[in-house]
Symmetry: C2
Subunit: 198 residues, 2 copies
DNA sequence: TAATACTCTTGACATCTGTCAAGACGAATG
DNA sequence: CATTCGTCTTGACAGATGTCAAGAGTATTA
């Protein structure tokens, strides 16, 4: 089972035999049915998990409304980066959208690995850089674009998610209401002008 | 001069004597007058700089309009993270808003340090985590809040920037037009209701 | 000093998006 | 099968924000 976690790390940086042994020793699997909450509001995020099967999303509550911050499918790391980084209670909630399997490491274990195997910091750095890169890209997506432009960009870049995620969640990810998304989509899949009328 | 860069790194993680020597050997200073562009659109970001004096902002052009992504003052690292990470041409432009002094390291030097001094990855990771943390916070600020709420949050958290940065740039940072920001501010610094009229 | 450029403000109006309400449709459940 | 629930759509309307235009005030420069 920890094979995939080791493989994921190997993509990012060198993994020594010792380190691999440590990972295999410490990694543990978690399984969730769809619709379960992995990280509750107010909890401190004390682990980092790799999604091996399924799909999750993270979101926070703003003014009573859910704001989706990320979708994390197979091969992605699931964690609330802010809470993990600060080790403070999270505002970000993480839930499963499908039946999901995770392979996880506890935070103290990771800290210990950073100390015992300095090269593991390469992996940590690469991973954070990648997550940051995704976050910046999304921020740029959300800014200065109209609702329609945001959706079509998202659809182009995430064709798979379109069928796996409900419109409600995509809308909240894209910073618009469900109704606006619905209108945007119906406009998009329809002729641009009235020529087709006659 | 590289003292401040070494000190900055020491805040984030251990710096060995060897590593310090390398930093002192490789670091170089750059000075810019206010209003100069440090990183042009389409350039690849090949260095990382610490602001020791002055103020910079990064922005990109969207649909002809500038969208400010960050302000970086004294003690902050200046770089286009996406371009630096991908080593591809940047969409993000970086300019100085005041006369600015930077201490910089070239990208290949940093890569070499990551290899030669594995512990330096701790510093890299911490730095990226922090930048990521700021980026996430800003994203949350921009989402689900009205123009007025965005400004008052920004004003609370960045009192200094209010006087150092023009309203035009703050508006584009907060995702609104200059006119909207102006109206928001005039409403804010005025009695909330009509009671004061009589 | 006059001329110019720049920043910020204000007004009028258009447009986008959110809100509230209702309904169609399909999936899940008893 | 009937019912219920959740998802998505559609309409009417209101409010927030953008756009265009103009003007006041200040700093900069010749």
């Amino acid at each position: 089972m920890p094979d995939q976690l080791v493989a994921k790390f190997r993509e990012l940086g060198p993994v020594s035999a010792e380190m691999e042994a440590k990972i295999r020793e410490e990694a543990f699997t978690e399984e969730y049915k769809a619709g379960k909450i992995i990280l509750h509001q107010g909890e401190v995020c004390r682990k980092i998990c790799l999604v091996t099967k399924g799909l999750t999303r993270s979101y926070y509550i703003n003014d009573g409304k859910e704001v989706t911050s990320r979708f994390m499918g197979e091969g992605f790391i699931v964690t609330s980066w802010i809470s993990y980084y600060t080790q403070k209670p999270t505002a970000e909630i993480i839930e499963t959208l499908e039946d999901t399997t995770l392979i996880c490491l506890h935070e103290p274990v990771i800290q210990k690995m950073y100390q015992d195997f300095p090269a593991s910091n390469i992996i940590g750095r690469e991973q954070v850089e990648y997550a940051f890169f995704l976050s910046e890209k999304r921020t740029q997506l959300l800014r200065g674009l109209t609702a329609g432009e945001r959706f079509s960009t998202f659809a182009d870049e995430n064709p798979t998610l379109l069928t796996r995620v409900s419109m409600k969640h995509i809308a909240s990810y894209l910073g618009m209401t469900e109704e606006t998304l619905s209108r945007v989509r119906s406009k998009m899949y329809r002729p641009k002008n009235g020529i087709a009328n006659s």
